[in-house]
């Protein structure tokens, strides 16, 4: 797809008047909801990062304290952070921490999804299941997962079970309600058509209801996966022997803002990677979904 032509512009056929009218800056870029050239979008996207890095560098230079080394500055320069990251990976076993955190995320998230998705689907399709589960789940949803941490430490100690439970609580109650909504939104007519084609209840469930929910369920997994990171880091900050959160806590004790920032950026990148994986899977598994712009 090339440059988008606004629908309002009509092309005149006569060769004498084919000279393209120059559009003003305002009409090209500041008409609400009108598309702008592809290249401009790309440039602006890069520019966003450049601005952040520039502001960061300026603040680092302004707050520079010449009495302490570069890596213990309260606001370290971006290049110092990059050096810190390499050092963390090579000498501080940071990748092991990343590994621990990733394991906890994947395990905790999988345990939550494994129960939340089937239960959500059942709640969305059977009123009898919804009536029983929805009120308590709705209530618990508003209890922050992080508030459970002290209680979980009392009950489960400081081991992995406690970390997984925090993630489980944080993900499960949100996910189950999201999946329930998805199931509830499946158009009744889609199911009715199947009945009039001779399908049994079980066939309708298996061949119509389930496939109708899949794409959106994967979307909801993608969204809740992002939240799982937040709960994990909180759990690790409170008490852990390893993990990115634990690494950040130790870095703080040594006034190493560079390492903290490097660790935070690592989490961001890990988040982007999982998001990318989900998006790729979605495109591959559900090529039939109509793309909604956004």
């Amino acid at each position: 797809m090339g440059e988008r032509v606004p629908a309002t512009r009509t092309v005149t056929a006569s060769p004498a008047t084919t000279r393209r009218r120059r559009r003003s800056f305002v009409s090209t870029y500041l008409t609400p909801k009108r598309g702008i050239p592809r290249r401009t979008i790309a440039i602006l996207g890069v520019l966003g990062f450049v601005v952040i890095l520039t502001v960061w560098t300026i603040v680092a230079i302004l707050t520079y304290n010449k009495d302490v080394p570069a890596e213990v500055q309260l606001v370290p320069r971006p290049d110092v952070v990059v050096v810190a990251w390499v050092d963390m990976v090579l000498h501080l076993g940071f990748l092991a921490d990343v590994g621990w955190s990733t394991f906890r995320i994947v395990a905790g998230f999988a345990l939550a999804a494994l129960i939340a998705v089937p239960l959500g689907l059942l709640m969305g399709s059977f009123e009898i299941v919804r009536a029983f589960f929805q009120p308590p789940i709705n209530a618990i949803r508003y209890m922050p997962a992080s508030a459970f941490i002290p209680l979980l430490i009392l009950l489960q100690g400081l081991g992995e079970t406690e970390k997984l439970t925090v993630i489980w609580i944080g993900v499960f109650f949100q996910l189950v309600l999201m999946v329930m909504d998805i199931a509830h939104r499946v158009p009744t007519e889609m199911l009715n058509v199947a009945y009039t084609l001779g399908a049994s209840r079980w066939t309708v469930f298996r061949k119509v209801f389930l496939p109708a929910t899949f794409p959106e369920v994967v979307d909801s997994l993608r969204i809740t996966m992002g939240w799982a990171w937040t709960y994990l880091i909180v759990a690790e900050l409170v008490a852990a022997q390893a993990g990115i959160g634990n690494f950040i806590l130790i870095a703080e004790r040594y006034f190493r803002a560079d390492r903290i920032i490097a660790a935070i950026i690592t989490i961001g990148i890990l988040g982007l990677i999982t998001d990318f994986l989900f998006a790729t899977y979605h495109r591959w598994a559900f090529p039939y979904v109509e793309k909604v712009q956004g």
Binding site: E189, Y195, T196, G198, F214, Y288, V289, E290
Partner: protein, 263 residues
């Protein structure tokens, strides 16, 4: 022989404390191979009536008979086409059309033969392997009709199938449907609010009253078959149209009045 018969079908809903009589003792018979249309003001319960005929909604009273046998549950004997197409987006056009045949466990070659035939008949050539998202509204509805026909139902129930289409597409679809009917001679019960559509397609028109829905008048459409587009401008067509418009107008006025009285 495939006739569908509705016997004293009544429908009541309770909304809050109020009981609403949606349908009041409706009886009608669509004999084998007849194309019957139901027209009426919006909210008269004509879609509900079709849901009852399909077995998708249980009537408060009365019963539905297909070839004299009571039909309480939905089944492959009564195929249904909805206004919203309701194609399965995750299946190709071909797999959508074969959906009912797959349920019947028809062998693959027979399935494909049947779907290929219908794809051609419905002018969907070249779109067999496309997903519904690639189809226009008219094509989607042609695929949905093909899906219903593939199953070879005894009765075809259609709930405002062309209601969501633009005027030009609707006309083409009406011509296509009348050709199809000419070919397959299915027993059809067709619900619409479009009077001209009902006259163009139907052998019989049941005009329904406002809530509680009853059949106010039964009109025979004696236009010759096969129907062609030119008939729409014939004096006979105009006369039928005026007759139906008069009845429906009267009913719509009653609806407004009863709403005012309630307010």
């Amino acid at each position: 022989m495939s006739e569908i018969r509705l016997v004293d079908v009544a429908m009541r809903f309770t909304t809050g404390k109020r009981q609403v009589q949606a349908l009041e003792r409706i009886s009608l018979t669509v004999p084998d191979g007849q194309f019957a249309c139901i027209v009426g003001p919006s909210g008269c319960g004509k879609s509900t009536l079709l849901m009852v005929a399909a077995g998708l909604t249980e009537p408060s009273e009365g019963e539905v008979l297909v070839d004299g046998r009571a039909a309480t549950d939905p089944g492959a004997d009564r195929g249904m086409v909805f206004q919203s197409y309701s194609l399965y987006p995750w299946l190709s056009v071909r797999r959508n059309i074969e959906f009912g045949l797959e349920i019947k466990r028809l062998p693959r070659t027979q399935r494909q033969q049947r779907s290929s035939e219908l794809i051609h008949l419905m002018k969907l050539d070249g779109f067999a392997e496309a997903y519904p998202k690639a189809l226009s509204g008219g094509m989607k509805q042609r695929a949905a009709i093909a899906r219903a026909l593939a199953n070879d139902p005894q009765v075809l129930l259609m709930d405002e199938p062309f209601g969501a289409l633009d005027a030009q597409t609707r006309q083409i679809m009406q011509e296509l449907l009348t050709d199809l009917w000419q070919r397959y001679r299915k027993t059809v019960l067709f619900v619409t609010h479009d009077i001209e559509e009902a006259i163009f397609l139907g052998d019989v028109i049941y005009v329904m009253t406002n809530r509680p829905g009853r059949i106010r008048t039964t009109l025979r459409v004696d236009l010759p078959r096969p129907r062609t587009f030119e008939m729409v401008s014939s004096p006979q067509f105009a006369e039928l149209r005026n007759q139906v418009i008069g009845i429906i107008h009267e009913e719509s006025l009653k609806a407004v009045e009863s709403e005012l009285a309630r307010a």
